[in-house]
Each structure stands twice: as C-alpha cells, then as structure tokens.
Amino acid sequence: MHNSTMRHGFIPPYILSRIIEHGSAPQRERALGTLSHIHHLLPNPGPPNRQPIASVLPERDLPGEPRRSIHDAGQQMLLPGMLARIEGQPPVGDAGVDEAYEALGKAHECFWQVFGRDSIDNHGFPLIGTVHYGVGYENAFWNGAQMVFGDGDGEIFNRFTRSLDVVAHELTHGVIESEAGLLYFDQSGALNESLSDVFGVLVKQFSLKQTADQADWLIGAELLTDKVSGSALRSMANPGSAYDDPLLGKDPQPAHMRDFIDTRDDNGGVHLNSGIPNRAFYLAARALGGYAWEKAGRIWYDTLCDQRLAKDADFVAFAGLTIDNAVIRFGAGSSEAQAVRQAWTDVGVLVL
C-alpha cells in the first residue's frame, strides 16, 4: 500500500512553484505547504565548515595571503586525493596541478585586492583543489568544501584547469555559499550560476588587466578542443552564440526574458537562463567603460553581500538590489545607477 504523498517523492521546488501558479486550489495548497517545508529544509549553508587536515597547511601570518593545496586524484573519484603542491612550493611540472595552483592564486588575489575579500569565507578559508579527477571527466565543480577539476575527454573538452575563469567560477560558488546562499534551482539558481560567471570573467580580466571593451567575455574559451565548432561554453556578451556544433548542437542560452527557458532539466535551467543576467552585467560593464571590476563588478559584489538578497531571489529582486547598490555607492541619479537600470531593461528584467 502506497502513501500518496510519499509516492511522488521529490518534486523540485520550481515545479511546485508552477503548481502554485497554475494548479487548482487544493493543488496550490499542498504545493505551498511543500514549498514552505523545502525552504525550511534548505537554509543558507553559510561558510563552508569542512577544514583540511590540520597538518597539511601551515597557519598564515597575514590576512589576504592564500592557503592553497592542490591534490591529485590519479583518475580516481576519491577526494581530496594525493597532496601534489602546497602553498609556497614551486611548480611540480604537472600541468593540471600547476594550472590549478596559479588560477586559485589569481582568483584569491582579485577578490582580495579588488573587493577586500579574504578568500571564500572572508576569513582566509583554505583553497583546496583536486585535479585529474576521474577518467576523461568532463566537469569541474565545488562540493561545499573544495574545488574539483576533470581532465576532459580530449575529444570535446580539454583540461578544465586550462581556463582561469572556470577555476574562478568554481571558487565563486564557495563565495556565494558563504554570502547569499542562492538556492540552486530556477531563477535563484541561474543567478548563482551567473554570479559565478561574472566573477570568473572578472578574475580573468583583472589578471590580464583588460578593460570591458578589450575582454572577450567568454566562459571557458580554452575548454573546447579543436574538433568542436565553437569558441567557448558560454558568451556573456552574446548568450546563445558560444558554439554551434554537429555533436553538441547550438548554444541554447537565452539573452532576454522573452526567451526564458522553462525546464525541469539542469535544476530548472540554471546554466541556461544565467545567460540573461550575464548579458545584463556585460551591458552594464560596457556602458560604464574602463575596468569592469571597478564599477559594475563592485555593484554586483555589493549585491552579493547585501543582507537583503534572499536565497530564493528572482531576477527582478536581484536587479532591484543592483540598482539600489549602485545608488548607495555612486549616488541617486548617477550614471552608474542609470546604466545598471538600463542594462536590466535591455534584457527584459523590468524593475519598477
């Protein structure tokens, strides 16, 4: 005998939201209750609390100094793997290990020098990376305590450590977890992904000292092999244009709210609909000119750390806070506030 409630198992919150919008009164009531329960179960996890083995990393003397340790999974899928390089050690000659070490250092440097943020939790959290994870593994991720990078299959994907913005993207997931804790589904999940892309490209642009008009605004430009017809995984300037390949298909990212993708796949299309806020950031940064991290980046960082940013924020709520933070930092009626508002308007996110 089945319990009718249990039978349906896990229904993602974005589907519950749809039921609330379109379902009958009893359906709405049940969905509202379940959604409320889910939100209760999914609090902001706060700063990551898993620490590395005490003996691995020395205590640091000064704030703002990175504490990196890179591990080698040896094509296994066990974390963290064998210690391969630790803070202060010279290159070891393994491209994946050394790329991860350098990229995490550059990401840390950008967050510290530009935003005054001391690592993931703003308290010097150790930067732990594992490379050579799995066999031909086509992914990179943040697992709540560390970053993990696959080697790619060599056919479609290269090593995921080759792109600085990809490494910085994964580190930023940790920062988001420590701040707004944006829930990883539907629009809040797309904002989570977009913020990781935003700070990923800012780290790259800061490292290369590129202005907004000099940057390529691509995510993962070094990831796709020569066999793939494409320039990157995503384009912040022109979402939907990063690749068009017989095997992979065409980049499906929307650039405007009229093309918002309603799907149950990919946690509600978090890697798809992130194209919309990505383009808003690009438009704001281009309108403001100069180095993107100085104005647009600062406004987005202020918003990420804004206590008013709810973990289930949608695009409109986030956009409203970016405008508010532009006003706080640059003044009401400032060109910065106007540029940010216009950027959101141009992607169809209308803030009253």
Partner: protein
C-alpha cells in the same frame, strides 16, 4: 522511506545525466525505457535498479556544478497518470543505474 509507485506495462522511465559546469543537452543523453517493450524479468530488474537509487535521491542534487542523474517515472494508477522524479548525485549513483543510462544494459 520513499517507495516506488507500481510500475506496470504502461510505465515509462526516462534517465538523463544533468548539471555540471558544462551542462549541455547533448551530454545529458536522455534514455527512455518503455515498459511495454520489456518482458517481466527486465521490468523487475529495472525496478530493482530504481529501488536501489531511492536512498540516494536528493532534492538538492546539482549544487555548485555537481552532476546528477535524473529519473523520471511516468505511470498509471487508479485511472490516473502519475509522475515521480528522482535526482541522484553522481558520486552516489549505483553502478547499475549508470550502466542502464549509459549502455541501456542490465546486469
């Protein structure tokens, strides 16, 4: 403890691998299994694989670019269509599920 719904001949199972930094439709490689085209032994084996996934199903799979397997069950019970969705984190996915998704094979 979660339970599988009764999966009769009219049931279908859709398996896909979701999420990841490089989330792409082509890489999700959805596989649809129509129970009407399976014999009783195969249906039993598939149900056994799915039951083995239940303890690992998680509503927050996918966070931070982690990949996960999505299991979509469509079934009919008491003259009504039903649906169940399970999300199993990649690192916890039973090998039988991965094999079924990847090769369409049962052990």
């Amino acid at each position: 403890m979660k339970q599988l719904p009764p999966l009769g001949k009219e049931a279908t199972v859709r398996l896909s691998r979701q999420g990841g930094f490089a989330a792409m439709q082509a890489l999700s490689r959805p596989r649809e299994i129509d129970f009407a085209s399976c014999d009783e032994r195969q249906r039993g084996q598939i149900c056994s694989v799915l039951e083995g996934c239940l303890p690992f199903a998680s509503a927050d799979a996918g966070q931070g670019d982690r990949r996960y397997y999505q299991i979509e069950l469509h079934y009919r019970e008491n003259e009504h269509d039903g649906e169940m969705l399970l999300q199993v984190p990649e690192e916890q996915a039973p090998g039988e599920l991965v094999r079924l998704w990847d090769k369409g094979e049962l052990l």
